[in-house]
Every structure is written in C-alpha cells, then in structure tokens.
Symmetry: C2
Subunit: 327 residues, 2 copies
DNA sequence: TTGAAAGCGTTACCAT
DNA sequence: ATGGTAACGCTTTCAA
C-alpha cells in the first residue's frame, strides 16, 4: 500500500492513470512517495478490477521457423507500440491445441487472440460458441471471425505463370498437401494448377511433390527421394522459402545448376532467401502490414465485440532473383 | 459466480485446484455445474490472491533472427510443459529497454524473467536493486544472478584452431565488436585471438571485420566492402551462422570457391546452416538443454528468492561440414 | 468435509 | 479536488 506513504488511498490511482484532475501539490506528494517506496502498480489487481489485462495472445504453429519468427517479431513490435504485451503459444500441428487456446482466452489472462491456424478449417472454429476476440492469420476457409490474409491462390498462380513465361514446361511443385494438413498448402496447390492451365501446360500429377513439414529438411528429403525415381524438372516451385532452401541444397549436391538446368522459386520472402545461393525468387508480402492489420482488427473487436466481421488483405508481389532468371 | 449454480462458495476452489479432499458426491455436483456454466477460473483474480500469475517473461534482442527464434521456441515449449505461459518482449539493441523489463517484472504480471542481454554488462544489472527472479541467457560479464551460458571463448578458440589445423593461415573474423556492442561478440573475438596465438599465427588486425548487426545483410555488406580493399583471406570465421550465410552469398557472387579458395565457418548451428551452399561448419549447442536449464533455474529462484546464485553450462561441439573441408 | 468471512490492490461511484 | 466505500473472483484461515 503505497498510499500510506503520503496522503490518500486512491488519489494515487488518479495520479498513476493520470486521467482525472489532481492538484499539482498532491501529485508531487504522491509521486515522491511512489519513488521512495519504488511503487509499481499491481497489474493483476488492475486486470481483475477492470477486466482487461493488457495482454494479447499470439498462437503460431512453430515459432522456430523463420516465417513464424518474422510474424511474431512484427506482432510483438506493433503490439508494444500500442501498449499491449504479447503472450506466445505454439500450436504445433495439433488442432486440439488451437481449440484449447481459444478457451484459455476466456480465462481473462489475455484480452484477445491472434491465431495463425495450420489445420483449422470451418469445423474447428465453429465449435467455439462463445468466441473470445480472435483474429485469424492466413488462409482459412471460414468467415466467422476477423482475419488477415494474403491471396495465396493468386500468388501461386502468378508465380507458376511467370515460370512458364520463362520458357519452363516441366514445372514441379514442392510442398503440396491436402486440406487437412494445411489450408495454405492446399490453396497454393490450386493456384499452381490454375497457373499451369492458363499457361496451356498439361497437368502432370507426378510433378507434385508432397513433403513432411515445410522446413528445409522436409524439402530436402522429399526432393532427394523424388529425384531417385524421376527426371529433373526444369522448374521447381517450392511452397515455402524454407523448402526452397532445402531444395537448393539437394540440387547443388546433385550437380544441377540453378537456374540453368532448373529454375527454383519460393514463397514468403524470408530474410535469408535473398542470401541463398543463388538468391531466391519468391512471393513477398509485408509482415509489418500484416501485423498492423491484425492488431488493428483485434483492437477494434476488443473494444466492441459486436462489430461486423472484417477481413484485411495484404498485398503480395513477386520478387524475381537469380534462381529463376534466364534459361 | 459459478458457485451459485450448485452448492458452495469455495468448495469449487477445492475442486478446481484439486488439492484438498472433497467428497466424490460434492465434486461431481460442482463439476457438473462448471460444465453447465462453462466456467473458467479467472486467472487475474487467482494471480492477485496468491501473488503468482503463472506467466514468465522472455526477453530477446530480436525475435526475427533464426537463433532467437529457436531459443524462443524451446523456452516456450519447456515452459508450457511445466505449466507456465510465456510473455515475449524484444529489447532491440536498447539497454534501457532491458532495464525497463526488469522493473516490469515487479509489476506482478510475470513471476520471473529470462533475459538474453546483448549489451548488458555489470553496470546495467547492478542498477536493479530489488531484482525480480531473473535468469540471464548467454555470455554476460556479471555474476549477480543465475545464468545459463555456453563457453563462447573456448568455442571460438577451438574453431580458430581447427581452421588453422586445416592449413589455413590468413584466418579472418567476421562480426567482431567491442564490449559495449555485444558481450558475446567480444568474448568470441578474444577466443579467436587466443586461437591464432596458440596456432602460432601472428595477429593481424586487418583481418578482423566489424559489421553492423549479426544478420545476413550485415555480414554481406561488411564482407563486400572489405573485399574491395583487401585480398581474399583463406578462411573466414563468422561469429554467427546468419553472418556466414550473408558471407557465402557475397563469396559466391565474387566467384570465390568455398572451401577451395576460402573456408567459411559459423557459430550457433541454426537449422538453415546445414542447408547452406555449401553446408556450413559451425559451433553447435543444444537449444533444448539451454531452455531446460534456464527454466529450471528460474523455477528454483521463484520458489525461493534467497537461494544461492547458480550458473548452468551448456556444452558445445564443432560440427565440420563442407564449408571448411579439404583445402 | 464444508461454510463463512476476510483480504489481495485496483478502480468506479458517490459523497464531501 | 479529494476521501470513503464497494466490488472484481479467487484462496486462505478459522469455525462448524
């Protein structure tokens, strides 16, 4: 009780929050007392009292991947600028975990949740009858809460068309998945197929290479196995920069020249892609913009739960680098 | 007040915490009531009452770097296994921010803090008179609180010796810094110098390449500038894998062959290093072990603030890969 | 084994 | 402009 050390019981509150008018005299007295006692307000009490903790949750599949790390970085940064703290959770690949987090959001330790679902399709979200303020990040087949997304379909299609325009015909895709495994993966697969169609290239299912996880190792192992039984394609569209880094490693080991023998493209524009060998052509979009939209939408919904559902779109653009240039 | 919906006012507490003996009958009644009301305990209230929030803070310089991301991933994972939530903060390169966070820890929203300082030397920590439970991560020149570290000096020395043993004589270091900029950087610099000495190689200050930030871009720019005014060294010890990735990119652009013309080594063993082109020799240590030690030490201190200061050591080992093999 | 009451530190409301 | 009082939801202490 810092209040004992000076004057009043709750005038201190006025001073701390600084909203109500306080006599300079009193304010000074209180401030001195606070200093002497090195007073810090108790956030738990404040949170209990006014129902807001000042914390938002951020749930990502796997924090250790460069893409997630960049997302987390920007969310934390933006949240901090607006006075919010961020509690981080990892969902792994477990949809159950995603559901748990939405419940936890109701325990009043966090005021809202930014969720980057992997597997979450309509069914999983619907379960949450009384949803806390939630903003979904990325490609999700549902429209029952706010979300921020990038048009993965269009981007994948455009990238495929660009590869075709460069004279490539046997364009393989690395990282294809079904809907249950990854919403983004499925959408990118569809965009890739549409791109082939629009380029007038016959669809060849043997050019779709599935893999186990969207990290370099998964990409490397899948491609290595693939090359044992197939000829080298003349282009490889990796659904993630991380996959592409794994693929480049395998191609270098196999003596395939990039981009002369095979063009390689990625998706996400992670920081390391520019410094890959060769530098990686990719789909880029602003993480910062994504974070700003997400936090804005969340703030908006936290202020008024009944506000209509809104979707924020983040623009993308293709960045051509050496990994696909020339032929 | 879930309690109204059944029986008792605080028997519900007993049921929830599950510690005290409760009649199966009553327990069932309460549990049913909880279900019906979809009751969730209010963590803020609990936290206010018993002085613990169940949250720990994790403060890292920059979450978007692969190294920090991996550390965060493991800390979150370990903390979660032990029932803790993790609030993430970024300190940037701002020592002021590090100090702020220690104060915030006293604000009762987090029970303890794991801090990975960049700049924090003795002076900065000393200021915190009433330190919250804090565990420091990494190389820090102070011993006034618990910490978990890797012997950067020995590792850097050993790596330098290994490069020398491979026949390299003009061994450059990329990422050297002074003490104010980075504690780890300075210690690695000293280990590098010691390694040269032990290998009988004369110290050549022109082979120490400073750079702006430990990310690929910083490494690339510093090395590119360096090569304009200097001959190619025959080895390059990068103080971070990220720096090495930037360096490899520049070397490839300059037509230098790795490892034939120049050996390149890194530090940290980030996931992407294995898939660099060529695969990167590096200093490896277990992030998981680091996280476990850190959380253990923190838990220990949170349970008893007066316990003696303890230091956890995480072993390292050098992983030779293609970037330094042969000559 | 369970109930009643007090109090954790804050802020909102009402009174002064 | 300031003080008093109550209440947020939980757990601990004491009593039944």
């Amino acid at each position: 009780m810092a209040r004992r050390a000076g004057v009043s019981p709750k005038t201190v509150s006025n001073v701390v929050t600084g909203i109500i008018t306080v006599t300079p005299d009193t304010r000074a007295k209180v401030e001195r007392a606070m200093q002497e006692l090195s007073y810090v307000p108790n956030l738990s009490a404040r949170s209990l009292r006014n129902g807001r903790s000042g914390l938002i949750g951020l749930a990502l599949p796997d924090l250790s991947t460069p893409y997630s790390a960049e997302v987390a970085h920007h969310i934390v940064e933006v949240a901090h600028e607006r006075g919010w703290g961020v509690q981080i959770e990892e969902t792994g690949l477990d949809p159950q975990r995603e559901f748990e987090l939405m419940s936890k959001a109701r325990t009043n330790i966090i005021d809202g949740l930014i969720l980057n679902p992997v597997v979450l399709d309509e069914s999983a979200v619907k379960l949450g009858v009384a949803l806390p303020p939630v903003v979904l990040l990325g490609e999700v087949n549902q429209h029952i809460t706010d979300r921020v997304w990038v048009d993965n379909f269009a981007a994948a299609r455009e990238m495929t068309l660009m590869l075709a325009a460069g004279g490539r015909r046997r364009i393989a895709a690395l990282g294809t998945t079904d809907q249950r495994t990854s919403a983004s993966g499925q959408v990118r697969t569809q965009g890739y197929r549409k791109g082939l169609e629009q380029a007038g290239i016959a669809f060849d299912p043997s050019l779709e290479i599935a893999c186990d996880g969207w990290h370099p190792r998964g990409g490397a192992e899948a491609l290595r196995a693939y090359l044992k039984g197939h000829d080298l394609p003349d282009a490889l569209f990796c659904f993630t920069d991380s996959l592409a880094i794994g693929a480049l490693s395998v191609l270098a080991g196999a003596g395939a020249r990039v981009p002369e023998d095979i063009a390689v493209a990625g998706f996400d524009d992670i920081a390391d892609g520019e410094f890959a060998n060769p530098p990686l052509t990719t789909v880029s979009f602003s993480r910062r913009a994504m974070a700003e939209r997400a936090v804005s939408l969340l703030t908006r919904r936290m202020n008024d739960r009944g506000v209509p559902i809104k979707t924020g779109t983040v623009d993308y653009r293709i960045i051509p680098r050496a990994s696909t240039l020339g032929h």
